[in-house]
């Protein structure tokens, strides 16, 4: 595919006139999705998709056109001819870009993480057989994703990665559920069975009647998957320098008034996770690791070239959204065996669901507990809980109420598949938090 991308890009660049600069991007995948309900196949979809984007700059004007291609050179060349002409004619009466950032040569790279994936029908039948005795709902995703970026100034980047992921939940007859996932580049039956067995054991813990708690403030252990949900919401406008200038950021008091989060809290953009390309949509290469918060102190926000131009900052090669693409929260010193003891009496929360800013400017997030969440007394799990809604601020739960962070972290692949498989992921530890606020 890298060769094909080079071929079609060279064809596009050959059409360029002297006063034009052009960036060509490719995003594609060959993926198989299998959706399960009751441990059977509900729907299966094979997807072969290639999208090309041509961005043209001329006279400080910029326009980009994103389109599907077939992967067959003859067909795609004539498609490119049409699109290039459309772009040129539409750009004639367009205004100059307000914050024009000319394309640059941001270097070259080529990363290939291609392993041998197990054949999809074989894997599907294994999953159905191994889970026939339980009620499993979920999705198997397997395939290769491609990202490419070439421009007329000599820049050239390629990233490809093959992976599979089984994302599932198990349900008991009483509608109790636990969540699990297993993914990577090589499927090992033993490893999958071990994860599945743990889910089945956890589901047994859930069989007791629910404890119904009244809303209020509770001491909580938030497991890595729950922290990942909070981080995901925080990334939505939380790390953006542009959002701060435009008045929607929760971090205004941290930049303007010198407020600090907990000294335990350190958050980095860290591409050493290797889950996604280090270059953004313009081919700018982000540094390997950038601290956002260090021991509670705001160190950096993400600055795209456009925001840099508009507000006079220095760009750190963030994407246009200025949101973290590979965030890592640093671990602390709470070991796994001590979690329940240190929690004492309170809630053990494995997962959270449907989070949203309830007041973004004030740093407040709301969401629900989901899956395996338990009431703990004196370090012992007593019963699963009836679900609760929380509504609390990052200033509190990542600030003065953050007591301890686990000495281990879990890598969560971003398994969203809106339009295409999202690349990237996060690495989060668990957190022990006091007075976590529940409202419903």
């Amino acid at each position: 595919m890298e060769n094909y991308f080079n071929q079609i890009s060279q064809y596009i660049l050959s059409k360029k006139q002297t006063e034009e600069e052009v960036t060509v991007t490719l995003s594609g995948e060959k993926t198989q999705f299998v959706r399960f309900n009751k441990s059977k196949v509900r729907q299966s979809t094979d997807v072969n998709q290639l999208n090309l984007s041509i961005a043209i700059q001329k006279d400080e004007k910029e326009y980009s056109f994103d389109f599907s291609i077939t992967g067959i050179l003859d067909n795609d060349q004539s498609k490119v001819d049409d699109i290039y002409e459309t772009c040129r004619s539409r750009m004639l009466d367009m205004a100059k870009a307000t914050f024009f950032v000319p394309f640059k040569n941001n270097g070259s790279s080529s990363v290939s993480n291609i392993g041998e994936l197990i054949e999809i029908t074989e894997l599907t039948n294994i999953l159905c057989d191994e889970t026939a005795h339980v009620d499993l709902a979920g999705i198997l995703t397997s395939g290769i994703s491609y990202r490419g970026n070439i421009n007329s100034l000599g820049q050239s980047h390629w990233f490809e990665s093959a992976s599979f992921c089984v994302d599932y939940s198990l349900y008991s007859a009483k509608e109790k559920a636990v969540k699990g996932s297993y993914g990577g580049s090589t499927f090992e039956l033993g490893a999958f069975k071990a994860i599945l067995d743990e889910s089945i054991r956890n589901l047994k813990h859930m069989e007791k009647d629910n404890k119904v708690l009244t809303p209020g403030k509770y001491r909580c252990y938030l497991a890595p998957a729950a922290i990942n949900e909070i981080l995901d919401t925080f990334c939505w406008g939380g790390t953006s320098q542009g959002a701060l200038k435009q008045g929607s950021s929760p971090l205004l008091p941290y930049e303007n008034e010198g407020k600090r989060l907990s000294p335990h809290f350190t958050l980095n953009e860290d591409f050493s996770l290797g889950l996604t390309s280090q270059f953004n949509e313009d081919g700018e290469v982000f540094t390997k690791k950038l601290p956002i918060f260090k021991n509670g102190q705001l160190e950096n926000l993400l600055v795209s070239s456009r925001t840099a131009k508009e507000y006079g900052y220095k760009s750190n090669a963030a994407g246009a959204e200025e949101s973290l693409r590979s965030p890592v929260i640093e671990t602390g010193d709470l070991c796994r065996e001590d979690i329940l003891k240190q929690l004492g009496t309170g809630l053990y929360i494995s997962n959270l669901h449907y989070l949203n800013w309830s007041d973004q400017k004030q740093g407040r997030i709301t969401g629900m507990t989901r899956f395996a969440c338990f009431w703990v007394e004196n370090g012992e799990i007593i019963a699963p809980i009836k679900d609760l809604r929380f509504d609390d601020t990052i200033y509190q739960f990542w600030g003065e109420n953050l007591e301890q962070i686990t000495d281990f972290a879990e890598t969560e692949l971003d398994n969203h598949t809106y339009s295409e498989r999202t690349l990237g992921g996060t690495q989060c530890p668990g957190m022990l938090v006091k007075d976590f606020n529940f409202t419903l």
Binding site: R35, N37, K38, D46, T98, C128, Y354, S358, D387
Partner: protein
């Protein structure tokens, strides 16, 4: 279509049934910020989805390779999967779930998209951002519009042959006002409609932009929303999301059947609730209506090729029907509607909302306010969250007014409310008349594995709810 017909003739001997759905969608996105042009971009998605019925199960393969060889390859992949995993099928369908309908549909437009250049559209948006800046306290003013044209051609081995063309305009604009480290944002409210460029009515939009800008500044002086149990009047630009989250999603039959349990969740509604459950007060009348011209999800055929018609989901408060297409109806024996849709060529159809509307009642907005001793009117959604069974919800709005003794007295900032679906709709006390009825729609309803973001419409009157838990900011 002739070419697809020939391919299907070839496919038909190898499987029980097959179809080809060609999907092409072109979207222009135009933006303006702070009295200046911002980005313009265009996206085009074009491919085919091949559906193959074999051994009782439908397998799908989507490809952007539109050559005969490419489509043949997709067919082979879908068929191979169906053959090799046959013993693990969840469902056992036959071709009665894909009726042989024929016909076509086209959005009614007055001004076609091509009539105005993207540059001209952008200059209109620049004017809107100028109108938004009513004072120096506006630190950010932005506007965007998205023009989407979708063409679907569907043909099957048992004689289905239909086409649909949708033209959709989505837009929003907003202003953020700032004073002493406090920021307040007010927006028009993201809305999408099936219309041509007549939807960009500049006389109206410039007037609205001035209102939105002034209200952003007004919020800087407003009191915090109180924490209390009060009467709550919801404007359509908030109520549509309440309907979406706490009526639309829980009534989806694929959720009730458990397909969605690993992602969006299950439902507090069970199969036995249909035909008997009192979902809300007897003023509540909710319809699935694919026939309302200009609403986002109006169509003649869903993506299973089933003809769509207006149906009552809830009548006089009683739950009658689910939001489930022909596959879910077959699996569950629950009455449904023609709502199996997919968001693109690369995703299979599943149960989606379409247009889910509240039928207007007979109370004018004046009478509604007059009857309130102490209450709040909330406008324009800014925050939403609900649990995986669609019960415990919390919503936040941009702007509110306090009502005391039947009169509007003050503006309130940071208004929020929370509740539980199970009892919430029983508190519905007044339903606004036709004059309060507005057509809203969102291009972004997320669901499904693999994920699909789809367009939904909600036509909604203003409504009054009794005894709702309201609260203010942090």
């Amino acid at each position: 279509m002739e070419n697809y017909k020939k391919l299907l003739e070839k496919f038909s001997s190898a499987c029980d049934w097959a179809s080809i759905r060609e999907y092409k969608e072109v979207t222009d996105l135009v933006m303006a910020r702070n009295a200046k042009p911002d980005q313009i971009s265009t996206g085009e998605s074009h491919g085919v989805m091949v559906e193959v019925l074999y051994g009782g199960q439908i397998s799908y393969a989507g490809t952007c390779d539109l050559t005969n060889e490419g489509i043949q390859k997709a067919f082979d992949k879908a068929l191979t999967f169906a053959i090799k995993t046959k013993q693990n099928n969840l469902c056992n369908f036959d071709d009665s779930i894909r009726p042989a309908n024929q016909g076509d549909y086209q959005t009614k437009t007055q001004i076609p998209f091509e009539a105005v250049s993207l540059a001209q559209l952008q200059s209109n948006l620049v004017d809107i951002t100028k109108a938004l800046k009513v004072s120096d306290e506006i630190i950010e003013a932005s506007a965007w519009a998205m023009l989407t044209k979708t063409n679907i051609n569907y043909i099957s081995t048992n004689g289905a042959n239909w086409s649909q063309e949708f033209c959709i305009v989505s837009k929003d604009f907003s202003a953020t006002a700032s004073r002493d480290n406090e920021n307040q944002t007010r927006s028009y409210g993201m809305n999408g409609r099936q219309l041509g460029l007549e939807d960009i009515d500049m006389t109206l939009l410039l007037k609205e932009a001035k209102r939105v800008g002034s209200q952003a500044v007004e919020l800087l002086d407003a009191e915090e929303c109180p924490t209390d149990q009060l009467d709550l009047i919801m404007a359509p630009d908030q109520l549509y999301l309440q309907v979406h989250e706490s009526i639309g999603h829980p009534l989806e039959l694929d959720r009730i059947l458990g397909d969605e349990r690993n992602y969006a969740g299950w439902s507090f509604i069970g199969p036995d609730d249909f035909g008997k459950r009192q979902y809300g007060s007897d003023l509540l009348n909710v319809t699935f209506d694919p026939t309302l011209t200009s609403e986002m999800a109006s169509y003649v055929f869903d993506d299973n090729g089933v003809k769509a018609s207006k149906e009552y989901l809830i009548k006089d408060g009683v739950l009658l029907r689910g939001i489930g297409g022909i596959e879910s109806q077959t699996r569950s024996n629950i009455p449904g509607v023609s709502c199996a849709r997919s968001c693109d060529w690369n995703r299979p159809p599943m149960d989606r909302m379409g247009n889910i509307n509240i039928e207007p009642g007979d109370t004018s907005i004046e009478d509604m306010i007059k009857g309130v001793k102490k209450g709040i009117i909330m406008y324009t959604n800014r925050s939403w969250s609900i649990d995986d069974y669609r019960n415990k919800f919390q919503f936040g709005c941009e702007y509110a007014k306090l009502i005391e003794d039947g009169k509007i007295t003050k503006t309130l900032k940071n208004p929020n409310y929370r509740g539980v679906t199970d009892s919430f709709w029983m508190n519905l006390d007044k339903v606004g008349d036709k004059s309060t009825y507005e057509i809203w729609g969102s291009p972004y309803c997320g669901k499904g594995e693999p994920n699909q973001s789809i367009r939904v419409g909600h036509a909604i009157p203003t409504c009054l709810f009794k005894n709702i838990e309201v609260f203010g900011g942090a």
